[in-house]
C-alpha cells in the first residue's frame, strides 16, 4: 500500500477499505454521499435488490455485540445481492483462543470478498487490512463497523447523509455533538466528517469527565454548559451514554446526568426552530434524551436508520468495484 500514507486508498487513490473518516479528502466523502442517494430508491421497488455484488461473499465479523449495525450491514449486502455470512465471534473461536489474524486467514481461505469488522479494540480492522495487504490478498475489502473508541465511519457517513438530506448544504451550519465523547467512536467519526465537509462550527457539549484530552485540537469548540452550547445550532447530535464502557466514577448517577446533559424539549428550544435531532442508537430514554424529544417532530432518528442502509450499500458497492 503505497498511497501517501493512507492505508484505505489503493494506488489510484480509490477507496479499497473503509477504516476511518480521518484523513479522507472531502471529494471521497462527497462521492460516497452522492453514490448513496440512488441506492435509497432501491428499497421502494417490488424487488428490493440490485445485482451489483452477485456472487460475492461478505463476512460480518462481529467480535462485539451489535444488533442494529450488523442488521443494517446485512440488509445492505443482501440488497446488493451478496451472500452474507454472520459470525458472532464473541461466542465462537476467539473464545477458544484463535487470534484475530488466524480468524481472518481462515475466512480468506473460504474465498471471502469483504470483511465487515466490529471489534472492541481500536485498530483491529486496520490490523486485518494490513495483514491482507502484506500477504498479497488486498482484493479482500475491509469495512470498519466500529472499533473500540477509535472510529465508526459508516455511522459518521450516514449522519452526514442525514444532515445533507435535511439541511442541503454543510457550509453554513452549526452542529453540536452532545454527551459521552470520551467513549464514543461515533463522535470521532462525526467530528472528522463534519470538519472535512466544511461545517464552519462544530461544538462539543460534554462534562469534563467524558471528554478526551486535547479534543479542541480537532477544530471544535467545547462547551461545558448544555444550554449555552445548544444556542442557535442547526443540528443536535446526541451520543449514547456508554454505561458498559464506564470504569470508575465518571458520573454521579444517570438521573444526575439527565438533569445536566439530557436533551429535553426546554433545552432543545434554545436551538434554531428548525434544528434536527439525531441519535446513533440505541437510545437511553430518560438518560441522554427525553422521550418527548426522541418521539418529537424534530427527531430524525429513524430516518438515520433508513439512510444507513443506502450509505452502507454505497460503501460496499464502491469498495467492491475498486
Amino acid at each position: 500500500m503505497n498511497t501517501g500514507g493512507n492505508p484505505q486508498l489503493n494506488r489510484h487513490g480509490e477507496l479499497n477499505h473503509l477504516l476511518t473518516i480521518e484523513g479522507l479528502p472531502r471529494e471521497v466523502l462527497t462521492r460516497i454521499l452522492d453514490t448513496a442517494a440512488p441506492f435509497s430508491e432501491v428499497a421502494e421497488r417490488e424487488v428490493k435488490k440490485v445485482p451489483l455484488l452477485r456472487g460475492k461473499s461478505v463476512f460480518n465479523l462481529f467480535f462485539e455485540n451489535s444488533t442494529r449495525t450488523r442488521t443494517t450491514f446485512e440488509i445492505a449486502a443482501k440488497r446488493l445481492s451478496a451472500d452474507v455470512i454472520n459470525l458472532n465471534i464473541s461466542t465462537s473461536s476467539a473464545n477458544k483462543g484463535e487470534t484475530l489474524l488466524d480468524t481472518a486467514d481462515n475466512l480468506a481461505a473460504m474465498q471471502a470478498d469483504m470483511f465487515v469488522v466490529r471489534h472492541a479494540s481500536s485498530g483491529a480492522p486496520y490490523l486485518i487490512a494490513q495483514h491482507l495487504a502484506a500477504t498479497g490478498r488486498d482484493h479482500i475489502h475491509v469495512v470498519n463497523a466500529g472499533d473500540g473508541r477509535h472510529a465508526h465511519p459508516t455511522q459518521g457517513l450516514l449522519d452526514m447523509y442525514t444532515i445533507r438530506h435535511y439541511k442541503k448544504d454543510f457550509s453554513q451550519l452549526t452542529v453540536a455533538i452532545v454527551g459521552d465523547v470520551l467513549h464514543s467512536r461515533v463522535a470521532r467519526s462525526q467530528i472528522h466528517a463534519l470538519i472535512a465537509l466544511g461545517v464552519p462550527e462544530v461544538r462539543i457539549i460534554a462534562p469534563k469527565t467524558l471528554l478526551p484530552t486535547g479534543v479542541e485540537r480537532l477544530g471544535v469548540r467545547v462547551f461545558h454548559d448544555m444550554r449555552e452550547g445548544l444556542r442557535g445550532v442547526d443540528v443536535v447530535m446526541m451520543l449514547r451514554l456508554q454505561n458498559e464502557r464506564m470504569q470508575g466514577a465518571l458520573l454521579p448517577s444517570t438521573q444526575e446526568y439527565f438533569k445536566s446533559w439530557g436533551l429535553t424539549p426546554e433545552k432543545l428550544a434554545l436551538a434554531k426552530p428548525d434544528a434536527i435531532v439525531m441519535h446513533p442508537g440505541p437510545m437511553n430514554r430518560g438518560v441522554e434524551i427525553d422521550s418527548a424529544v426522541a418521539d418529537g417532530n424534530q427527531a430524525v432518528i429513524l430516518p438515520q436508520v433508513t439512510f444507513g442502509i443506502a450509505v452502507r450499500m454505497a460503501v460496499m458497492a464502491m469498495l467492491a468495484g475498486n
Binding site: D34, T35, P38, E41, R45, V50, L52, A317, M318, G321
Partner: protein, 169 residues
C-alpha cells in the same frame, strides 16, 4: 476521417423517430422509459410529440451493468424513477445510441425488478452497429457503422437543443 464525417442531426432524428412510432403507440397506454442521460432527453421529446398520457420514466443502469467488476461504480449515478405501474404495462425503452446492446439488457433486467411488463419495445435515434447481444430496435430512424475506438454521444445545449458529439476513446 472523423473530422469530415457528417454527424446525424439529432433534432431531425427526434422528429423522424416520433413519426415512426406514431401509428404504433397508444397515447393512453404506452409508457416511455429513457436511459440516463441521453435517452431521458429523447424520451421527453417523444412524450410531448406523441401526446402520451403516462409520465415518462427514467432508468439508470449503473447497478445492473455486466462490466461493473471491471469498471466499478460511477458516482454520478442518478436514481431510476418509474412513475407508473410496470405490471402489465406497454413500455418503450428510449436511448440515444444503440451499440453493444448491453445497456438495453441491463435496462430490461432492471424493469423486471419493478414488475412484469406486458410488452417492451426499444426506440433509439441511431444504431451505430457493433451488437454483442441479440437485441434489435423496434424504432430506429438512422444507422451507421462506427469503429470501436469512437464514441457517439448525445449532448444538450443550454437552450435545450440536442446534438451528437463524436469522441475518440
Amino acid at each position: 476521417m472523423p473530422k469530415t464525417m457528417r454527424l446525424p442531426d439529432a433534432e431531425a432524428l427526434c422528429v423522424a423517430l416520433a413519426d415512426a412510432m406514431r401509428g404504433h403507440v397508444d397515447p393512453a397506454a404506452t409508457a416511455l422509459v429513457g436511459i440516463h442521460t441521453g435517452g431521458v432527453w429523447v424520451a421527453e421529446r417523444l412524450h410531448a410529440a406523441l401526446g402520451l398520457k403516462i409520465p415518462p420514466g427514467s432508468i439508470n443502469v449503473s447497478f445492473y451493468r455486466d462490466d461493473y467488476s471491471q469498471r466499478g461504480l460511477h458516482s454520478n449515478a442518478k436514481a431510476s424513477q418509474i412513475p407508473f405501474d410496470v405490471d402489465g404495462a406497454h413500455i418503450v425503452i428510449v436511448d440515444d445510441v444503440l451499440y453493444t446492446g448491453r445497456t438495453i439488457r441491463a435496462a430490461m433486467n432492471e424493469l423486471f425488478d419493478y414488475g412484469r411488463p406486458a410488452k417492451i419495445e426499444l426506440a433509439v435515434l441511431t444504431d451505430r452497429g457493433g451488437r454483442e447481444l441479440p437485441i434489435t430496435p423496434s424504432f430506429c430512424p438512422h444507422s451507421q457503422s462506427l469503429p470501436a475506438a469512437q464514441m457517439l454521444a448525445l449532448e444538450r445545449a443550454d437552450d435545450g437543443r440536442l446534438s451528437f458529439k463524436l469522441m475518440e476513446k
